[in-house]
């Protein structure tokens, strides 16, 4: 039963990821992304990584996509009428590359998934709060602190860019 739920969540994620890319209305794009992140959270949860699942929803659906919506509403973007540059060759190459990457992912997934569908049972508890917290503050402490530094720099930069013309 759990495997079926997993497959359903995965299918939903893929479908809505497609919708997010293809749809013409900016609002539909964002909403499809919301559903996609939700389905991804379900996938994480079924893999035993409930912390990741919760954080996925809190950070992406709860904060970042709300900002997206904010911008869309502020600029009042209704529809994007023309997509892309209209060059057929570029579109062809892009599609081929995407298909290649997709095929690669499928092959890798096929190699990784044991035949008895043991994705779910083989999942470790690596995604729950405690191991993640321990790993962040011991093994990966430097990377963790470095990322916070990077984020602070990004915030300062954003403030500077936003305030530049006010000076």
């Amino acid at each position: 039963v759990v495997t079926w739920f997993f497959l359903a969540a995965a299918v939903v994620a893929v479908i809505f990821a497609l919708v997010a890319v293809v749809a013409r209305s900016a609002m539909t794009n964002v909403l499809a992304l919301v559903v996609m992140f939700f389905a991804m959270a379900a996938v994480f949860a079924l893999l035993g990584m409930d912390f990741l699942a919760a954080v996925q929803v809190i950070v992406y659906s709860g904060a970042i996509l709300v900002l997206f919506l904010f911008v869309i509403m502020l600029l009042n973007i209704r529809r994007v009428d023309r997509l892309g540059s209209g060059r057929a060759a570029q579109a062809l190459v892009g599609t081929l590359v995407a298909a290649g990457v997709g095929a690669m992912v499928l092959v890798l997934a096929g190699l990784l998934v044991p035949e008895n569908g043991g994705v779910l049972r083989g999942a470790t508890a690596a995604g729950t709060a405690m191991p993640i917290g321990r790993a962040l503050l011991s093994t990966h402490l430097f990377a963790f602190e470095f990322i916070t530094l990077l984020l602070v720099a990004a915030i300062v930069g954003a403030v500077y860019l936003g305030k530049r013309d006010l000076r």
Partner: protein
Amino acid sequence: VWAEVAVIGIKLAFGLAVLLTTVPIMVWVERRGSALIQDRLGPNRVGPFGLLQPVVDVVKLIAKEHILPARADRWLFLLAPLFAVAIALSTFIAVPIGADSGLELFGHPIDGWIVAPDLNIGLLYIFAIASLGVYPLVLAGWSSANKYALYGGIRASAQAISYELAMTLAAVGVLMAAGSLHLQQVVVAQGGTWLAYLPHWNVVTQPIGALVFVVAVFAETNRVPFDLAEAEAELVAGYHTEYSSLSFAAFYMSEYIHMTVASALITLLYFGGWNLPWVDVPLTGWPGAILSLSVFAFKVAFFLWFFVWVRWTVPRFRFDQLMALGWKVMMPLAVVNFLWVGAALALGYL
């Protein structure tokens, strides 16, 4: 397996029934309470003390025509109120409403009064779902094709992001003190006394965090003084200007459900959950379960009244004041609380 399904089903039905009956009761309390505070009578014609007024209100709302604005985005306009109720209701499944008193039903442990099988991430799940609570408002505002509604939606999104940070940071203090994300254990950690006399509730040990959390929760539930997304005086009715009939009722309902969940969270995180102050009663068996449920219900009822009380006492903020408060006061205070809890834990005060 069937016993487990049955137990979860019963718990789900119980939680749903409690939540959905709270809504009409709170509508009545709000109307009579506002009348009390403003020295009026309030609705007193239908039933004793006007108790049947909510029922009549619902009949009126059902009987009204559902209007779909001509230029509205049809799908989103219809989906937004459904999302509002669904999101509000689904928060509750991770909220424990009574002590785990070791009871069994059909040979399956009830496992505490929490609908979901004990999640590893209890509080995070609630925050995750609650953070989605802003979508219905934004979608309703956007899809109405009405500039006042749009303003309401924009305000709702900006406000939700600003106050979510302070709320989460404040709650981190509680999690540090309890050392767990399980809400059951958060409550258990608040048993007993602190410094010999005070109850060991988080509101006593980290008052700043409690203050920040309560204020941020008011902002997240869009209640006065933070109902800028609605702001009748400026935006007609904000994000739900164009809604009528049952879809309006859905927004109305979701507001009260959010209030109930928010009160439950305040109680669980800061006011000791089902712990009685100074008294240490073993909460086992049916008496224990009933005692813990009633203590919890009493505290939640108090905070629901507190919501009403504040609404009819405090005037609404201006939007720039709201933003300034969120970022320049609440965030630093939440960080101060965070530092205090960290230091107190390290020095062994907590």
